[in-house]
């Protein structure tokens, strides 16, 4: 069994590349190579990393709701304050589900798993 807390405590690799934006200008793209499709573009690499990291819980939860598996790339960091992370990104409604099996998560918080 893998819990939501474990997945949200799992560190994922972060990298930043330079890519050409739609207007032809160069921007920075923060990527999480282990979470295909999870990227964040910004002119500033700092803001790109911010966007990527802040968006990671939502990306993971969205995949789980759609029953798409999330890779457990490496052991979770068990002392990570996941509750605070969820509050900071406006996902506190998922806090009651942190210790639920990820296979039993509801489509939205409040619904039975």
């Amino acid at each position: 069994m893998t819990t939501l807390r474990e997945l949200l405590s799992t560190p994922f690799v972060t990298s930043v590349t330079a890519v050409q934006g739609p207007d032809g200008g160069w921007i920075r793209r923060a990527v999480a190579p282990e979470l295909p499709g999870h990227t964040f573009d910004h002119e500033s690499p700092w803001a790109a990393i911010d966007g990527l990291v802040d968006g990671t819980p939502a990306f993971i939860i969205d995949r789980l709701r759609r029953k798409v598996p999330v890779p457990v790339a490496r052991p979770p960091l068990p002392w990570k304050d996941v509750e605070s992370v969820l509050r900071e990104v406006g996902l506190e409604a998922w806090i009651p589900y942190l210790d639920h099996d990820v296979d039993d998560l509801p489509e939205s918080p409040g619904e039975p798993g």
């Binding site: 990298s15 920075r28 002119e43 990393i49 304050d81």
Partner: protein
């Protein structure tokens, strides 16, 4: 987007009462070298850390005390104190304190008043290992285990520990420690060779560094760990492999420099004196063999890796005042900088940013990924602690038992997982280990 001024202040201010200062105080940090207080009852020495003026002394039992410099009576300096019979005595009125700050004697007050029982001298716990005296300056209830770095457990013959004062905020130098793209320039030679300076033998065996010459725009990958984070710097190395330099970065300001199997390991620990100066504690060691006489001589006399200091001090001979002894003819002849030595080369570019760099004026690129990651991590933890939340790093003793590694890995393997065995300080460290036998193949494999 650049760093906001208030975040730059927070990042760089470690004095008492600051957010970052509180974070630093949750960790054990090197305070001084054992050689500074070589024997019981020798004279106390001044120690400045995190903006606090302290004195260190070795008492009659050989144990180390680290206490506030100001006597609690009239704030006279205990640096002038007498270190005698189990305590440090203020020369002004004879008040005497043991290494834990307990007042033992107060000879100018009536004995029956027991005033001495109500007076304490602020003191910090210390731990001594392999030539370094560590201190913990945080709240007693949050005191972690002393970190277990590999070099702390090696025979003294295997290590060299040096200390040098650097004339800038700790963060500028720390950022250099996790900025591997600069080695393709700052520490290079214009003829495309690695600048080994006077230390050709010390640095022999670093065969893979040739890829820092051929690939000057590496890719950076960062991943959180229980001690901080890991930086993987990836360069092309033939058709099947990448050349990875994997740097473990430790809270609050430490790192292990990536090295190839069998070569010298390097641990860099940076400790603020105040906001405008810091000490670099550099540890160079061979995990499974003594340093050679040549290596030790070079370290002690300022070779390419560790720098010369003014005798009797920990102040470097190459400073901003003398332009780090830059030699323009050397610069024309092949040295990229004209500055001799890796550390002075680093300082020539970090100290000259100013005592505290103004990060609001920077233009950061993708090559600054690890630097951004370090700043974000420190600011996140400092702000979290200020709000009363627990900090993320585990501070678990064994989590520091690692090595920094430079190696070839197959292109399809995640660097941190594939490098795990090589990074484990319990494993062998010689050129015969299987992971050091990997050869680059195909186009670009020669690194020329």
């Amino acid at each position: 987007m650049v760093l906001k001024q208030e975040d730059n202040w927070m990042l760089t201010s470690t004095n008492p009462g600051t957010e970052m200062g509180e974070l630093f105080r949750r960790f054990w940090m090197p305070a001084l070298l054992s050689e500074e207080i070589p024997a019981p009852d020798t004279g106390p020495v001044r120690v400045t850390m995190l903006g606090e003026n302290l004195v260190a002394f070795r008492d009659s039992d050989g144990e180390v005390g680290l206490v506030n410099e100001a006597c609690p009576h009239r704030t006279a300096s205990l640096y002038f104190g007498r270190n005698e019979e189990g305590g440090l005595r203020c020369v002004y009125h004879g008040w005497k304190f043991d290494r834990n700050g307990t007042c033992l004697e107060m000879p100018n007050e009536p004995t029956e008043a027991r005033f001495k029982d109500r007076v304490r001298l602020r003191s910090y716990p210390t731990h001594e290992a392999n030539g370094v005296i560590w201190a913990y300056m945080g709240p007693e209830e949050d005191q972690p285990e002393v970190p277990r770095f590999e070099w702390m457990e090696l025979p003294p013959s295997h290590i060299f520990v040096g200390k040098v004062e650097v004339g800038c905020n700790y963060m500028q130098s720390l950022e250099g420690d996790i900025d591997p793209s600069h080695i393709s320039f700052l520490h290079q030679r214009i003829d495309g060779q690695v600048d080994r300076g006077s230390s050709r033998e010390v640095r022999a065996g670093e065969n893979l560094r040739r890829f820092t010459v051929t690939d000057t725009a590496p890719k950076y990958f960062c991943v959180d760990t229980e001690y901080g984070f890991m930086v993987g710097t990836r360069r092309d190395a033939g058709t099947d492999h990448y050349y990875w330099r994997v740097t473990p970065w430790f809270y609050p300001a430490g790192s292990l420099i990536p090295r190839e199997a069998g070569t010298l390991q390097t641990c860099l620990l940076r400790v603020p004196l105040d906001d405008e100066r810091h000490h670099l504690f550099g540890v160079y060691y061979r995990p499974d063999a003594p340093l050679t006489e040549k290596e030790r001589y070079e370290f002690q006399h300022g070779g390419n890796l560790f720098q010369a200091t003014i005798p009797g001090t920990y102040k470097p001979t190459q400073t901003i005042e003398n332009d780090f002894l830059r030699d323009r003819s050397e610069q024309r002849a092949g040295s990229y900088t004209g500055v001799k030595g890796i550390a002075p080369q680093d300082q020539a570019v970090t100290v000259t940013m100013g005592r505290v760099a103004d990060r609001t004026k920077e233009r950061l690129g993708t090559s600054d990924t690890a630097i951004i990651y370090a700043r974000r991590s420190l600011l996140r933890e400092a702000k979290s602690l200020a709000k009363g939340s627990p900090i993320t790093p585990s501070r678990r003793r064994d989590s520091y038992f690692l090595r920094g590694v430079a190696m070839l890995l197959p292109r399809d393997e995640p660097f941190d997982v594939a490098a795990l065995e090589a990074m484990d300080a319990n494993g062998p460290w010689n050129r015969d280990v299987p992971w050091a036998q990997v050869q680059a193949v195909g186009e670009g494999a020669s690194g020329t």
